[in-house]
């Protein structure tokens, strides 16, 4: 296990260097959060009748939206730039020579890539949003505990998606197809653009089958406490079933891809 942990640590230290970028990111996210929450609040304020029947109350919605801003970087927006550079430059040869499992290596990379920037941004953003902008704390210790479990699942899921994007490079080199489809799917079906509870009911049921809700909707709802008991564990199981599935598919594709890989450059 240790080479993976060492890589994760090194990557983490590297990414934590960009503090100015993190500060700019926090300011940007707060700006967007203010715009988004105002627009949603306006919808909630304009139709009192529908509001009574909503599956998500306004204070819970505010918390949900701010959590989304804080954890924005958790979504698989981009593929791993370093892996991409390796595949296109031929550096992949070195990667193959290392006495470690390639999938595991790329997976630890992806975990560091997704969590380090989020860690830098999320904590100050959550504090600010809680203090000034209407984010509430989890209602109970139990909810907070479940949230951390759900967050771990979200990180694993996001990493699995990121590795899939990396693997697609073995076929396309530029990886552009997957690179552009993934953020569109992830932001729409995870509940990041619109909480899944506010989708039309039939659409919500179908979207719940997809892996993407595990990235945002599941941890957010664990935090606000609308997902509890058996239902909470069901959602967490959903996350890990998908992680397992994506890892199996990823491993299969990777071994297939490596049989036909061409080492580029020189």
């Amino acid at each position: 296990m240790s080479p993976y942990l060492a890589l994760l640590r090194a990557r983490f230290r590297l990414l934590l260097h960009y503090r100015a970028a993190a500060l700019a990111g926090i300011a940007t996210q707060i700006g967007f959060g203010l715009i988004l929450t105002s627009a949603f609040a306006a919808f909630y304020g304009s139709d009192q009748v529908s509001r009574q029947m909503l599956p998500l109350s306004l204070p819970n919605l505010m918390t949900y939206l701010w959590l989304g801003q804080a954890l924005l970087g958790l979504l698989p927006w981009r593929m791993d730039g370093e892996v991409k550079a390796m595949v296109t430059s031929g550096g992949l040869a070195y990667e193959l020579l290392r006495p470690v499992d390639l999938y595991g290596l790329w997976f630890s990379r992806a975990i560091a890539l997704r969590t380090a920037p989020v860690l830098l941004r999320a904590i100050p953003l959550l504090i600010l949003a809680g203090w000034l902008f209407g984010l509430s704390l989890p209602p109970s210790i139990e909810a907070a505990g479940l949230w951390t479990v759900g967050l771990a699942g979200a990180v694993a899921l996001s990493a699995a998606c990121t590795v899939l994007m990396s693997i697609s490079l073995l076929w396309t080199l530029s990886g552009e197809g997957v690179q552009f489809a993934m953020p569109a799917f992830a932001s729409f079906f995870s509940g990041h653009l619109l909480p899944l509870a506010l989708f039309p009911d039939w659409a919500g049921r179908m979207i719940a089958l997809l892996p993407f809700r595990g990235l945002m909707d599941t941890p957010h709802r664990l935090w606000i406490g609308t997902l509890e008991g058996a239902e909470a564990w069901g959602a967490i199981a959903h996350q890990w079933v998908w992680v397992a599935l994506l890892v199996v598919v990823g491993r299969f594709l990777l071994s297939r891809g490596l049989t036909r890989v061409v080492i580029q450059g020189g």
């Binding site: 700019a24 105002s38 919808f43 932001s187 619109l194």
Partner: protein
């Protein structure tokens, strides 16, 4: 490219030979050819950005499915706001892409080369790229605007069409102004600043709804500081013939897109200041 006949190049070409506009058209032609080199990747990028934009619009449709009304505004009315703003932004983004990632030019020191050429810096930076990849947002803007327009039965009313055109033009000017300001900042920071996204992307998100729905601070910011309301909300209220809850006069509503052009002019003045301040990174 094969080398041209050297005899043709012996005559020095003075820069008055090619008009500024013709030069720009040539820049654009080169940029388009470059972008279409990788046909498949280009199509996929168009599809990807198109999907993200369509997702954003579906969110609005879904919200109206839940709530029926937004503070008294209906979905077709919102579509006219949404279409106008997104049209303006997509055109501005395509035209001023060279300003959008201007930071890379300062960082690499390549701006020096631009300064050496006997042409205006603005023309050259604009000519760096005319992006076609964001065509999805443009197409969606046209479709949404058309749908709202026909649903409200606004018809072929010359005055209304003129006003929407004026609003889009003013919006393009204003958004390009914002991108110019963002680029100007790079003279000081050497980076393209992510924070400016709050004004551009955030501005689009804000003004695709009528600004009456927002708390007054946000409304005032996008009216007085970044005058996006002047190219979106005010003219569109007049187009819709909707009484303005903010109580502005119709004359103001029809003339307000002018503010977009003023903002653009102002940004060019700031740009000139920035160019004078520029010192090369030397790399």
């Amino acid at each position: 490219m094969p080398p041209r006949n050297p005899a043709r190049q012996t005559k020095p070409v003075s820069h008055s030979d090619v008009g500024a506009f013709r030069l720009y058209v040539r820049y654009v032609a080169i940029s388009w050819r470059a972008q279409l080199q990788y046909r498949a990747s280009f199509l996929l990028q168009c599809l990807g950005t198109g999907m993200i934009t369509a997702g954003e619009f579906l969110v609005i449709v879904a919200l109206f499915g839940r709530f029926k009304t937004l503070d008294g505004w209906t979905l077709p009315e919102i579509c006219v706001f949404y279409g106008t703003v997104n049209l303006a932004w997509s055109i501005a983004e395509a035209l001023a892409r060279g300003f959008d990632d201007f930071g890379s030019l300062v960082k690499s020191g390549d701006f020096d080369r631009i300064l050496l050429r006997p042409r205006s810096t603005v023309l050259q930076v604009l000519g760096r790229e005319f992006t076609l990849r964001r065509v999805g947002r443009f197409a969606l803007g046209v479709m949404v605007l058309t749908w709202g327009w026909t649903d409200l039965e606004l018809g072929w009313d010359g005055a209304r069409l003129l006003l929407v055109g004026f609003a889009v033009a003013g919006g393009v000017a204003l958004f390009i102004g914002l991108l110019v300001l963002q680029a100007t900042l790079a003279f000081w920071t050497v980076e393209s600043l992510e924070v400016m996204n709050i004004l551009t992307y955030g501005g689009v998100t804000t003004t695709q709804y009528p600004i009456t729905i927002y708390p007054s601070r946000l409304r005032h910011f996008f009216t007085a500081v970044i005058p996006l309301a002047c190219v979106a909300y005010f003219p569109i209220v007049a187009v819709l013939g909707h009484p303005d809850p903010l109580g502005t006069a119709v004359v103001w509503q029809c003339l307000s897109p002018t503010v977009g052009f003023l903002f653009f002019g102002l940004s060019l003045l700031v740009w000139r200041m920035g160019v004078r301040h520029y010192s090369s990174t030397g790399s």
